[in-house]
């Protein structure tokens, strides 16, 4: 629940479990046998339908936090609860089932360049299709219909059979969004989705993400530009060196807080 006064919240564990959609509980991630502390005791509670924006310098732990949530990176300590399921304690099989409900889009799009757009989007259903069928590359007819719909949602219906690397950056990211939509997720993680795009395209891509958020999907997005965060986010969390520095509505970030998060010499850049 956003705290209007900003700062860290300390609710009792029971209250977390009743109200929140995703709870990150004292998450710590250490690399290289203790030399690199990527996340330092981070606790976040996210409600259903929120558009949570993560900001912070490069290397502050944003990517690590997002990847720990769907366990692409294994956390060293702490728990992550999606609804009432403890993701960190799940064995491999159940983890794959839970990952189906968590969609993810990436900074460098992570598409298979030689494959067609349709092929890439269908990869989003891999969690639902049994292994034997996917070996042959055959997806049920329903999935192909779903893929068509997803592509219509992001406005790329006519590019269905085009090779993925023949699209522009913005279009490739929209294919990534369509792929995530195929999972019919309840949570969408976005790891710097617009960092590789120009300002106008960034706006357009984030508009699509906002539409998805309005349909009830919780979104966790990490962004570099504060102006985009203010425009799209309902709540902002700032990380610095793996520690939570700020947690509250976008309006609460004034110049001083900005300097704290980004360092003394930082200047704010407008992205219009």
């Amino acid at each position: 629940m956003p705290n209007p006064r900003g700062g860290r919240i300390r609710l009792s564990p029971r209250t977390y479990l009743i109200m929140a959609h995703l709870v990150v509980d004292h998450l710590t991630k250490v690399y290289e046998r203790g030399k690199v502390l990527a996340l330092n005791d981070v606790s976040v509670s996210v409600d259903k339908g929120e558009f949570l924006v993560l900001i912070g310098l490069s290397g502050s732990g944003k990517s690590t936090l997002l990847r720990c949530i769907n366990r692409l990176v294994e956390p060293t300590e702490g728990r992550i609860l999606l609804g009432d399921v403890d993701i960190t304690a799940l064995p491999q099989r159940q983890l794959r089932k839970v990952r189906r409900q968590i969609g993810m889009i990436f900074q460098h799009f992570n598409l298979v360049k030689r494959a067609s757009v349709l092929s890439n989007v269908l990869a989003g259903r891999l969690g639902y299709v049994p292994t034997a069928a996917s070996l042959l590359g055959s997806f049920p007819k329903q999935d192909i219909v779903r893929a068509k719909k997803s592509l219509e949602t992001v406005g790329l219906a006519e590019k269905m059979y085009v090779r993925a690397d023949e699209l522009s950056g913005g279009q490739q990211q929209r294919v990534g969004i369509a792929r995530a939509l195929m999972q019919e997720p309840e949570l969408l993680l976005a790891d710097e989705p617009v960092s590789a795009l120009d300002p106008a395209t960034s706006h357009s891509v984030l508009n699509y993400v906002e539409e998805i958020n309005k349909q009830g999907v919780t979104v966790l997005c990490s962004l570099h530009f504060l102006s985009l965060a203010r425009r799209f986010g309902t709540r902002i969390i700032a990380l610095k060196d793996g520690i939570e520095m700020f947690d509250g509505p976008p309006a609460d970030i004034d110049k001083e807080k900005f300097r704290e998060i980004y360092g003394e010499e930082a200047e704010e850049v407008e992205v219009r």
């Binding site: 993810m104 992570n110 298979v112 360049k113 030689r114 891999l126 292994t131 070996l135 590359g137």
Partner: protein
């Protein structure tokens, strides 16, 4: 604790920090230098023997030297090694990354270097006593007031180093390469004179090759061959095709087990990885011709033996190429499949395979061409194909027929090479 470097003694604290850890490198670099000069001395002796018969050396057996020979070599190389180490940084020192310097990292003066050279005799000759008593700073270093230091890193340079031909290690390396090439020239019995003066022997061959006899292109040759050129070429082509197709089919799944990024995880998987890699490396080092010798005895002479030989080598070569390709893919789609809930097999099928299929096809086509060329000569050791005809006519010295066969082979290989090149262009 064994191996742990101790702190410098208090008297040294006034000087800038210097490493003392180089006993291993010191000894190793000295041995490298000594052996290097020993090798150069050996080459010189060999060449002297060849040209001037002053020092008799039978290189394949024991070295026979006059009574003053061996001591001269040993002392001579020892002196050379010490000399280059004192007056520059030698090859061994360069490889191990150490050099002689003052406490403040400046270059030692000539006087210091001379003292180092002389002192090292007293230090090393009595069974290396100067080094063993003071492993961190031997006598010859103390008496010349120098230290063995790591070579300065690039961000510590204050001036660019001299070009290689002005450095000790550069000249040593040049001499080494020059003398090794000379030795190689002699051992391989290269003789340009023979090549040009005996040209008339080749004239017969050239005459035959340039007046090829295509009468049996489609008609069969009489016994013992019973085949036409075209028939034998088709046989060769199919040998190569069969070996390539089956080799690719078998290598494809096996290559995934030889790819580090797929097999990482449990110990059992890594064990399988090492076995598969080892298999590829061993079977690839033995060329198809050698395999053909074995198979010619196992399944008796004929095209089957040749095909099997090509098959074995193809599996190993393609497997290695395939697995290297699988290791060099973009990791992004793999992450995407994992985050969507896909398992390992789905990851291979949907993230890795689409990225590697075009290079695989390119490798396979290239392999077909290599197998065709190999198949033409594999009949030398009992395989089938057109080599059989080629060597028969060579033995009978019928150079016109040989010429016809060689030209036919060249045409077919060239066509296949051109076609496969164009196809590879299209798919990659």
């Amino acid at each position: 604790m064994i191996g742990k470097a101790k702190e410098p003694r208090p008297a040294d604290k006034t000087k800038p920090p210097i490493s003392f850890r180089f006993l291993g490198r010191r000894v190793a670099s000295f041995w490298i230098d000594w052996i290097l000069f020993g090798f150069i001395a050996y080459c010189i002796m060999y060449l002297l023997n060849y040209y001037w018969y002053t020092v008799s050396v039978a290189w394949y057996g024991t070295l026979i030297l006059p009574s003053w020979g061996w001591p001269l070599v040993i002392i001579g190389t020892f002196e050379m090694a010490l000399l280059v180490r004192s007056f520059g940084h030698s090859f061994g020192m360069r490889i191990l990354g150490v050099t002689l310097a003052n406490a403040d990292r400046s270059r030692p003066t000539w006087g210091q270097r001379a003292r180092y050279y002389l002192a090292s005799h007293l230090s090393i000759l009595p069974a290396g006593i100067g080094v063993w008593l003071n492993p961190r700073r031997p006598w010859h270093e103390r008496w010349s007031d120098t230290y063995l230091q790591p070579i300065a890193r690039r961000d510590e340079w204050i001036a660019p180093p001299p070009p290689w031909y002005r450095t000790v290690w550069g000249i040593t390396m040049f001499v080494l390469i020059a003398i090794t090439m000379t030795l190689a020239w002699h051992i391989s019995e290269v003789s340009l004179r023979t090549l040009f003066t005996e040209a008339d022997k080749a004239a017969r061959i050239w005459r035959g090759l340039f007046t090829p006899d295509f009468s049996h292109l489609i008609n069969d040759y009489p016994k013992p061959i019973n085949d036409s050129i075209l028939g034998a070429l088709i046989e060769t082509l199919f040998m190569a095709l069969l070996a390539t197709v089956f080799g690719a089919l078998i290598a494809f799944p096996v290559s995934f087990m030889g790819a580090r990024n797929i097999m990482s995880g449990s110990r059992i998987r890594m064990g399988i990885f090492w076995i598969v890699r080892g298999f590829f490396n061993v079977f690839r080092s033995i060329e198809s011709i050698l395999w053909a010798m074995i198979f010619a005895i196992w399944v008796s002479y004929g095209p089957f033996a040749g095909t099997l030989a090509l098959l074995l080598h193809t599996i190993a070569a393609l497997g290695k190429l395939y697995s290297e390709q699988a290791e060099s893919i973009d990791h992004g789609p793999v992450e995407a499949v994992q985050s969507a809930g896909g398992g390992r097999i789905q990851m291979i099928r949907h993230a890795i395979m689409p990225q590697i299929i075009p290079p695989y096809l390119a490798f396979t086509l290239y392999r077909w061409e290599i197998n065709l060329r190999m198949a033409t000569v594999i009949s030398l050791v009992g395989g089938g194909g057109i080599g059989r005809l080629l060597f028969h006519f060579k033995r009978e010295l019928k150079w016109s027929d040989v010429g016809a066969i060689v030209i036919s082979i060249a045409v077919v290989v060239w066509i296949l090479d051109y076609v496969s090149g164009r196809v590879r262009e299209r798919i990659v």
